[in-house]
Symmetry: D2
Subunit: 499 residues, 4 copies
C-alpha cells in the first residue's frame, strides 16, 4: 500500500490535461489542495494499526492486504466494513472521502462485465480484462474516479434521439485493437486527482442503443482526454488555522475520439448490462452514502452543539430537540445501510423478475434499504443547514476578516467586544464561527449542499427506484383481505384490460 506522498508524486508525473481558470495546471496545484488533503487521508488511515480492520482488506485476487478502497466485496462483512470505513474517514476529513466513487464503480463493473461475458458465451472477455486491470489497481494502490453522468442534451429525449449523438458518451469506432469513444461526462468529482478514470453508462438503454453501452478505465492523463475543472476549497486561514482544510474538484471529462485498447474495455454493446451497470454503480454509491452522510450529520450536530455551548443555550429544550432530529437522521441513515449490507447478496432486482442472481459473487447491498437511506439523507441537508444557522446566530456571516483581528489599531476592541461564554477562549470562538461560516457562507459550503442533494442520485431518483422495486401489490393484497374485497367480483372486461 502506498503512502500519501507516493500518490502525490504519481500525480505530479502525469500529463498536463487539466484546465482550470483559463489555463492548464499541474495536478498538485495549490488551487486543488483540498482533495490532496482528503484523499491523502485514505492512505494515512490505512497505515494505522487501530484502523487496519476497516481500512484494509485481503484481496480475493492476490491474497494480499490492500486498501479497502481497492477491494471487491466478497461478503456481507465487507459491505459492513466499507460502510464503517466511509463513516470513519468522513468524520476525520470533515465530509466526503472522495475515493469511494472508484470503489463503487469497480464493484459494479465486476458484476456487469461477468454477466455480459456469460451472455456472450465466450465471445468476449470483459471480466478477464477487468480482473487483470484490477490486479494492477490493487497492487499499485491506485485512486479511481467514476465518470458516469453524461451531459444528456435535451432531457426529453433518449441518447439515440439527440440531435448530436455524442451528448451521451458513445463508441464511434471499433477495431481489432480496441475502440474509439467520444463524449463528455460531467460533475466528475476528483477526476484530476484520480490515477484511473472508470467510465460507466448513465442510464437504462434500449437494445438499439448499443453504442452507448460502454464501460472502460483509462489513466487520468490518457491521450484524447481533457479535464475542465471547478475547484472549491474552504477559505484558507492565516491567523486562525483549521485542523483540516477541505476542498473538492468537479470536472467535465471530455473524450475526444480517445482510443481504448480492448484490455481496458469492460463492456461494449451489451445494452441491457449497460443499464444494469448504471443502476449498480448508483446502488453501490447510495450504499456509500450510508457511511458518509451519517458522519456529515454527526459533524453537523457536533457543530450545532458547540455553537449552542458557545452561545450559552446548550441546555435549552429546543436545542436538544434539534439535536435529537439530527441524531435520528444520522442513525436511521446508518441503520438503512447496515440493513442493506446484512441483507446483501450477489443478486439484483430486475423489473418483472424480482431479485435474480447477478455477477461473479461480488456482494451487492439491498436496493430498497440503500435507497430509503439515501433519500432520507438527501432531504435532510438543507434542513440541517437551517438548524445550524438558527442556533449559531448572525456572527458566522458578519464576523470581520482575520486580517482585521490582526490589525493592532482595533484588535483590542475586537477582543473586548467578542467576549461571550466566559468558559471559551476568544481564539476558539474565532475558529468555531469561522468554521460555521465555511459551512454556511462559503462557495465550498454551497457546493457541499448541492452535492448532498444530488450526489449519488437525487431524492427523486431514489423515489423512482423505491416505487418501481417495492412490491406495492403485495400490500394492496393485505388490505383487500382485511377490507373484505374480492377481486373475483370485479367486471371481467377490466380484468382483461389489465393483462
Amino acid at each position: 500500500m502506498r503512502a500519501k506522498q507516493q500518490w502525490i508524486e504519481g500525480l505530479r508525473k502525469m500529463r498536463r490535461n487539466v484546465y482550470l481558470h483559463g489555463d492548464k495546471v499541474d495536478r498538485d496545484d495549490e488551487s486543488m489542495i483540498g482533495p490532496l488533503n482528503t484523499i491523502g487521508a485514505t492512505f494515512d488511515f490505512a497505515q494505522m494499526p487501530e484502523h487496519a480492520e476497516v481500512m484494509t482488506a485481503i484481496s480475493h485476487l492476490s491474497g494480499e492486504r490492500i486498501n479497502r478502497f481497492c477491494h471487491v466485496h466478497q461478503s456481507r462483512e465487507d459491505l459492513h466494513k466499507k460502510q464503517d470505513m466511509t463513516r470513519l474517514l468522513c468524520q476525520n476529513v470533515g465530509g466526503c472521502t472522495q475515493r469511494c466513487m472508484g470503489t463503487d464503480a469497480l464493484n459494479a463493473i465486476s458484476c456487469a462485465s461477468y454477466e455480459a461475458d456469460k451472455d456472450n458465451k465466450g465471445a468476449t472477455q470483459y471480466y478477464q480484462n477487468f480482473l487483470q486491470w484490477l490486479d494492477r489497481f490493487q497492487r499499485q494502490d491506485l485512486v479511481g474516479c467514476c465518470a458516469q453522468t453524461d451531459v444528456k442534451g435535451d432531457r426529453t429525449k433518449r441518447p439515440s434521439q439527440q440531435d448530436d449523438p455524442d451528448l451521451y458518451l458513445r463508441v464511434v469506432e471499433k477495431n481489432k485493437d480496441g475502440i474509439v469513444v467520444r463524449g463528455c461526462k460531467i460533475h466528475i468529482t476528483v477526476a484530476p486527482q484520480a490515477d484511473e478514470i472508470l467510465v460507466v453508462p448513465t442510464r437504462a438503454l434500449l437494445p438499439t442503443e448499443k453504442d452507448w453501452a460502454v464501460s472502460f478505465a483509462v489513466p487520468g492523463d490518457w491521450e484524447g482526454v481533457k479535464l475542465v475543472v471547478r475547484a472549491t476549497n474552504q477559505r484558507p486561514r492565516q491567523h486562525y488555522p483549521k485542523g483540516f482544510l477541505q476542498g473538492t474538484t468537479e470536472a467535465m471529462v471530455i473524450f475526444e475520439d480517445a482510443f481504448i485498447p480492448w484490455e481496458r474495455v469492460f463492456l461494449c454493446g451489451e445494452a441491457q448490462h449497460g443499464g444494469v451497470l448504471a443502476l449498480l454503480f448508483a446502488l453501490y454509491h447510495r450504499h456509500s452514502y450510508s457511511g458518509c452522510k451519517p458522519a456529515v450529520s454527526e459533524l453537523m450536530m457536533g457543530t450545532v452543539a458547540l455553537a449552542a455551548e458557545y452561545n450559552g443555550v446548550e441546555r435549552e429544550r429546543h436545542v436538544r430537540d434539534k439535536l435529537a432530529h439530527m441524531i435520528l437522521v444520522a442513525e436511521l441513515g446508518y441503520a438503512a445501510g447496515f440493513t442493506a449490507s446484512e441483507k446483501g447478496a450477489p443478486q439484483v432486482f430486475m423489473p418483472g423478475q424480482g431479485l435474480v442472481p447477478y455477477g461473479p459473487g461480488t456482494y451487492i447491498p439491498d436496493s430498497i434499504y440503500c435507497n430509503v437511506g439515501r433519500c432520507l439523507s438527501g432531504e435532510a441537508y438543507y434542513h440541517e443547514l437551517e438548524t445550524l444557522a438558527d442556533i449559531s446566530g448572525g456572527v458566522p456571516s458578519t464576523i470581520p476578516y482575520e486580517e482585521d483581528w490582526a490589525n493592532p489599531e482595533i484588535t483590542g476592541l475586537l477582543e473586548k467586544y467578542s467576549r461571550r461564554n466566559p468558559g471559551v477562549a476568544p481564539d476558539n470562538q474565532q475558529r468555531l464561527w469561522r468554521h460555521v461560516g465555511d459551512i454556511l457562507c462559503s462557495a465550498y459550503g454551497g457546493v457541499m449542499a448541492v452535492a448532498a442533494v444530488h450526489g449519488g442520485g437525487s431524492p427523486i431518483m431514489e423515489k423512482i427506484a423505491i416505487t418501481s422495486q417495492y412490491d406495492i401489490n403485495r400490500r394492496k393484497e393485505m388490505v383487500k383481505r382485511l377490507a373484505g374485497i374480492d377481486d373475483a367480483r370485479n367486471p371481467a372486461v377490466a380484468k382483461g384490460a389489465k393483462k
Copy 2:
C-alpha cells in the same frame, strides 16, 4: 400451545371484575370482540407450519416449543424473529397484535429481577420467583399485559412528593407471606383479555422511593383488582362484511390493597433496578414498534394505493411520491429495529457509565436504534392519515349507511351513481371506502392514531432517551479537531466550573 378457543374458554371462567359502560361484563362480551379476534390470531398463526420459525421458539427453561410471545430472547436471532413475528401478525390483523406488551414486560423483568438479586447477595429470590412463574406462563401459553403507566397526579411532582402517595402504585405493607399494593395503572391495553397482568414501575426512582420500586404478576381476576375499561371496535358490518374486525380495549387497572404472595413478586424496594426496569420495558416495547409500525405503514400504503387505483389516479406522480415516503417510513423503521437486534446484547446504557452488562443473558436490543425508529414512526402517523384523506377524497366520510344501500327504494339509484373505475365492482368500492372510513372517520381510527403517537412512549420520550444516551461530546471533539479548536486555550476558571 393452546388454540384460540382454549384461551377464550379460560377468559370465560375468570371472576367478573371488568367494568364497562356502567356495568360489570364478561370477558368474552361482544363489546370486546376486537381483541378476541386479534389476540386469537396469535394462537392461530403459531399453529401454521409455514410460520413456525417466527411464531414459535424453544424455551430455554423447558426446552419445549412455545409461542414466541412467551419467550425470553436468548440471542440476536430471537430479537430478529420477534421483530418479524410482530410485523407478520400486524399485517394480518390490520394493526396492533396486542400480545407484545406481555412479552416485552417479561423480558425486562428477567433482567431486573436477576440484577436485584445479585445486588442483594442472596437475600432475595426474585429471579427464581420469576423463572417459576415463567415456566407456568410458557407451558400454559398464557397472554400477558403490562401495567406500567401510573396515573401520576400532579406531573410537576415526583412519586414521593404527591399529596396522595397512591398516585403511583406502591407497596403499603410487607410481611412474611407477601406484600400489599395500592394504586392504579392507566392506558393498559387488553388488560381484560390478559391471563396475567405484569406490573412494572413507570419511571426512574430516587433511593428514597423504595415503596414505588415494585414489580409482580397476578392473574387478571385477582382479588383486589378492578379493571375499568374503554372498548373501541371498528364499526360492525351487516351487508359488506370486512375480512377481519379489529378492536381494542384500554383499562384502568386498580389495585385496592391487593395482596401479592412473594412467589409472584419480582422486585420490591430496589429503587435503581426499578428505574432500569421501567426503561427496559419501554426499550423492548419500542423494539416491538419496529415490527408493528412498518406493517401499519404497509397497510396504509396499500390502502392509499387501492384508493388511488379506484379513483383512477394511481399513475400520477404525486401519488407515487407519497407512496415512496410511506415506504421510506416503513423500511427505515424496520431497518432501525433490525440494526437494534443485530447490535443487541445482554447490556444496558447507564448514565455516566455507558453500556454495562445487565441481566442473566437475556438479549436487549440497542437503545439508540430502537429510539430513533420509534420516533420516526410516531411522528409519521398523522401525516399518513393526511395522505390517505388526500388521495381518497370525501367519499369515506360521506358515504350513506349500509342499510340505505339495502333499501330497495334507493339501492338502484345509489348503485347507478357510485360507478367510478370501470374495472372495480361497486361492492368492492363499498368495502374499500368503508375500510378507509374505519381508519379516518371512526372512534377506533382515532384511538389508533393517538396510540401511534403515544404507545410505547411519545416522540418526546424517545428524543429525551436519544439525547441523554448519544455521545454528543464525541461529535463535538470531531468538530473541534477539524476547526482547529484547542480546549487548552480556554480559561481555567470555566474548566473548573464544569466539574
Copy 3:
C-alpha cells in the same frame, strides 16, 4: 328575520324525502340534532344587538335588514363582514357554521346569471329569475345549501365522455315551462336542513357540453328529489354535558328527472358561464374558509392550551412553540382572506385575459389570496390534530365511559386516581378530555378532518388555481434582467415553437 324555532318548524312541514339508516326520517330527527343546533345559532346571533353589524346587512333589493347569510356582497366592506361573521359564529358553534354554502352559491349565481343574460342579449332572463327568487329567499330568511359536486364516474373522462351521461347532473328535457334534470350531487353538507337547494356545475365545460351547464334552486323536498344522508354527531353526554353539541349531515342529492320551472332556472346551456360559475362558487367558498378555519385553529389552540394547563406543562417552551405555529396558521389564513376582501372587485380571472369585469356589481374576493389562504389551512389540520394528541397524552383515548364514573362501586376510585393539576376540578378534567376525545377519537372528529382537507376544494385544487392564475412569467422576467439573460439571443426556431 326568523328565529331558530321558526326555521325548525318550517323543516318539520317538509315532505319526507330524507333517507337515513335504511329508512325515511323527519328533518328534525334526533339523529340530525347537530345541524339544528349549529344552523340555529345563525338565527340566534342575528338577533343579538352586539353582533348586528356583522350578522346582518341591508338588502340591495328590498333595502331591509336581513341575515347576512342571505346577502349579496355589495362592497369590500361586505366581504370583510362576511369573513368576520363566519369567524364569530365558528368560534361559538365550535366549527363549521353550515350556512355559508348557500351564501357562497347565491353570490356566485348572481354573477354568472347576469353575464349569461348579457351574452344572450335578452333571449334569457336568468338574472331576473334569480333576483325574484332571492327577494323571497331574503324576506323569508331561508337556509340554502349548495349542490355542486357531481359523482363524476370515471375520473379520467369528461362529462360528455362518460358511459352514463347522468354521472354529471344534466338537462334531459327542455320545454316552454321549464327543464327536466337528472343526476346526483354528493358530499352535500346540511342538505336535509336546507330550505332551498342551490345547484351549480362542478367544473369547466366544453362548448359542446351545454347539457351540463345548468344552475337552479329548488326547495329541499321538491318533487323528484331524494336525499340520502350520513349524519354524524359528537357523542351525546349524559353526566358531563357539553356546552354545545355539534354534528353534521352529508347527503347524496338525487334528481330523478325532476322538473324545474323556468323561474327557478339561473343558467341552462351556457357552457362558458357554467365553468365560471363552478369556479366562482369555489372561490367564494375558499373565502369563507378564511373566516372559519382561523376560528377552528383558535379553538384547536385553546384546546391545546387547556390540555397543557391541565397537564401542568403550559409554560414549557415546546408547548409555546406549537401554540405559536397554530396562531401563525390562524392569522395568516385570516390575513389572506382579509387581503382578498380588500382587493375584492366585481371581476374574475379569465385564462389568457387576466382580470376582467364580471357580474352585476357583486363583489368578488381576490382569487390568489383566497387560494393561498385555503391551501395553508387545508394542509394544517392533521398537523394540528397531531399537536393536540401530542400535548393531551393518552387519556382522551382511554378514559372510561361516563356511566362508569356514575357507577357507585367505582366512582370513588376513579375520582381518586384522576387527580392531576390540583387547580382543576375533576369534573372539568372529565369535560376537557372528553371534548378532546370528540376531536381526536370520534367519527365526528374524523369527518371534520376530512372536511378540513377537502371542503371547498382540496389543497391540490388550490395549487392548480394558484399556478394557473399567478403570473410566473413576470417573475421569470425579473430574474432574466438580474441574471443578464437576453431572450433575443435564443434560437429563432424555439421561439417559433412556443407559439
Copy 4:
C-alpha cells in the same frame, strides 16, 4: 431629492474610519460595490415618474416631496406604500434594498422620543431634537442605518449583570453639552454606506438599567466611531456579465467614548421607553420584511421556473407543486404585511395593558400580523434554497470557470457539450446557471440565507412576540364554553394560587 451619484460623492468625503481586510478603506472602495449599486437604486427609482407614488411621500414637516425612505408614516396608506416600495425595489435589485433599516429606526424613534418627553413633563426635548434632525435628514435625502444589536457578552446575563458593562452600549458620562457613549453594535448592515447611524437599544430594560436606555444619531464618520466591516459581493463577471451586481456589508460599529451633543440625543435614561423603542424598531423592520421577502420569493420562484424551463421539466407536476408553495409563502407574507398595515394605528401592545395609544401619531403596523408574516418567511428560506437546488441539478455547482469558456483550446468542446433545451442560447444558459450558483454556492448566497433567518429577528423571536401578545386566554374561554367547563367548580386554593 438627491441622485445616486450625489450620495456617492458624499460618501467619498467622509472620514476614513472603515476597517476592512486589515486596512482602512474609502467608502467607495471596489470591495463594497454591491451596496453602492443597491442603495443607489433607491435614488434612481425615486426619480422615475411611474414609481413616484410609492417611492416618494410628502413630508409632514416640510410639506415637500421626499424619498419615502426618509418619511415618517402618517397613515395606513403610508404603511401600504412602504410595503409596496420595498417589494418593488427588492424585485429590481434582486434582494435586500438595504435602506429600510434607517427608515424603520426613525419611525420607531419618532414614537419613543415623543412618549419619553411626555412622561418627563417638559424636562426633556427628545422629540424636538428628533424633528430637527429629521428635517435635515429629509431635506438632504440622507441614508440611515440602524445600530441596534449589542454584542451581549454572556447571554445568560442582563446588561447590568455583565462582567464588562460595555457589552451593551451605554452612557458613560452625561454633561450639559451632551453625553459620552461606549459600546459596540454588531451585524450592522450597510453601516459604511450610511450618512447617518441611528442607535437604538437592543432589548427590554429594568428600571435600574437607565444607562443602557439611550438613542441618538450621528454621521457615519463621527469622532470616536470605528466601523469594522465584512463585505460580501456576488462573484464579479468578466465574460457573462449580470444585469445587476449585488453585495452587502455588515459592520461592527464601535463607539469609543464618543461624545454625542444633546441635539442628537433622542432618549437617555428612560428604561421603559428604551424597551419599547427596541421592540418598535423590530416591529417596523418585520413589517419591511413583508415587502422584501415576498419579492425574494418571487425571484426564487422565477429562478426555479427558469431552471425548470432550461431543463425541460417546467410542466411536470412536482415542479408546479413547488412553485405553488413558493407563491403561497410569498403572498401569505405579503397578505400578513398588508393586513398589518390596514390594521395599523398609533398604538402599541403593552404587556398587561393590551393596545395603548403611543407616539405623536406615527402609524404603527399591527404586531401579530407583522410577526406571523416574518416568521413564515424566515422559516421558508432554506427550504426555497433546497427547491432551487433540487430543480437546477448539479450544474450550478460544477460549471467550469468563465475563463475556461474563453479558452480557445476548449471553448468549442464546452459549447458542444453544454447544449440542453434547444430553445435556449448557450450564453443564456451560462448566465442562468451562474446566477443560480451565486444563490446556492457563493459566500454572498450563504450570507443572504443567514440574513433571511435572522434579519429583523429570528423566527424564535417572532414566536416569543406572538405568544406573549396573542390573547390565548380568550381562546381557552371559547373552548371552555363549548366543552361545558365551568371554572367556578375548580378548587379555591388553586384560583388563589394563580393570582
